[in-house]
Amino acid sequence: MYRLLASAPEDGWAFVQHGDAVMVIRPPYADWSRTFVQPDTVETAILQHGFLSEDRSFPDLASLIDFLKEQINTSRRARGEEVPDAAAIRELFHFAPRYILTEYLDRIKTEVIPNREWNAAESILTDLLGVEIIKKDQELYERTRNLLIRCQEARAEEEERLRELVSREQNPAQFPRISREYGPAVFQLQGSRERRGSLMVGGYG
């Protein structure tokens, strides 16, 4: 049982009692962001640091954390705050230090591009090219630019492959035996079946 003793809803912070231990829980709710404290710090948190006095219990840590996450949303909605969109969050790139920018590029290379998230990757890389640290660092700038080129090339290759596929389906000359045996109408049939999720061309003959 986890007993919520005090909270700061807008920030998702909480003083929580579990057995004899009292701890502070805060975003991102990882092990490293959980700290054991003396029980009398709860009083100081309320009296001097603006925490709200609370008294409610949760069966497990996961349900308590879910509650805190939702508290962040509800308290900020109540203030009329909008959820920041991707473009607004991307402004943070301009404050990121070099080692974080390098990590962004690593993740774009190893996760975002292989996942074929072309639009997101191109948009992020284009924004990164405008970041002052990257603009002034030739190595980082080249790396960002090369990733953007690689992303555009990969997208172009993908689009070409799709175009070829469509073109093949629409060209009976690619499949002369099928065309001869079943007539050109079979390709229209195949197209309509594919759209429904099944592929039936040819057979055992």
């Binding site: 991102p28 100081t44 607004a88 969050i89 992020i124």
Partner: protein, 283 residues
Amino acid sequence: MIDLFAIATENATAIAEAFAALCADLPPEGLAPLVRYAERVQETGRISINMKQDHLNGFLTSRQHQNTYERAEQTAAETGRPREEILRESLKAFYELRVTFDHSFQDGERFRYGALNIGGMGAITYGEYCVVLQGQVSSGRSQVAYVRADSLKTYMLGPILNETDIRKDATPHAHRHHLATLKHASDVPGCPEDGWPHLLCSSSDCVETIFTGAVSPTDTEVVRMPRPDYDDRMRRALDGSLGTAAEHEKRLLGIFKNVQKELRSNRIPLELVDHVPTTRLGA
């Protein structure tokens, strides 16, 4: 009602004499670290206030620090609810303690509470940002007093103020290093010098600073933040950009971005602290 700042001023000689008496009784090898500690506090001691992200964002954007009463007054003005009702609701069982202490002093509702700080993250349990005020904030105003520890825990005997002890301990700015050294006289010799900031100011103990008057972002010397928190938020900015972050993460990233913007536009340095001495889960 008690004039805390007048008492502190009157105590100057007594505190200095107590420090001199402490030093006089020590052998040279015991004296040296205490003198170095006192000098460090005198030279680098600043007022710090730990703030959570929302509090810091409010401080930077509204350009003013608000204490408990000022926050309640603002909420009262916005909602039309009585200020006392808001105070009672937020403090609940602790309302009487807070109000009894503050109302025992002249200008008690104008008190701001901070901690004497010579480095490190301060009272990180209450906020991941340690806002360090410029030296002139404390040296340049008359209404500043330092007491041995958290005033409510130290000088309240249940619902009653321990007037004798606070009258004895209240110290003016010019002698804050004497108070800190008297408090930590037995700890300093066995503590490595890089542990002195944590000895002086942590989540569990501090030399408390009580002061009045407006405080704005222009009074800020530096803001410190633990590097793990900073790195985590910066890394999540990519998830936020990819649309894979949860709603609460996006909201916190939005505030984090605003804090970064405000710090930059106010030319307040953000210092990342690698080592934060606290007890972590599983440590």
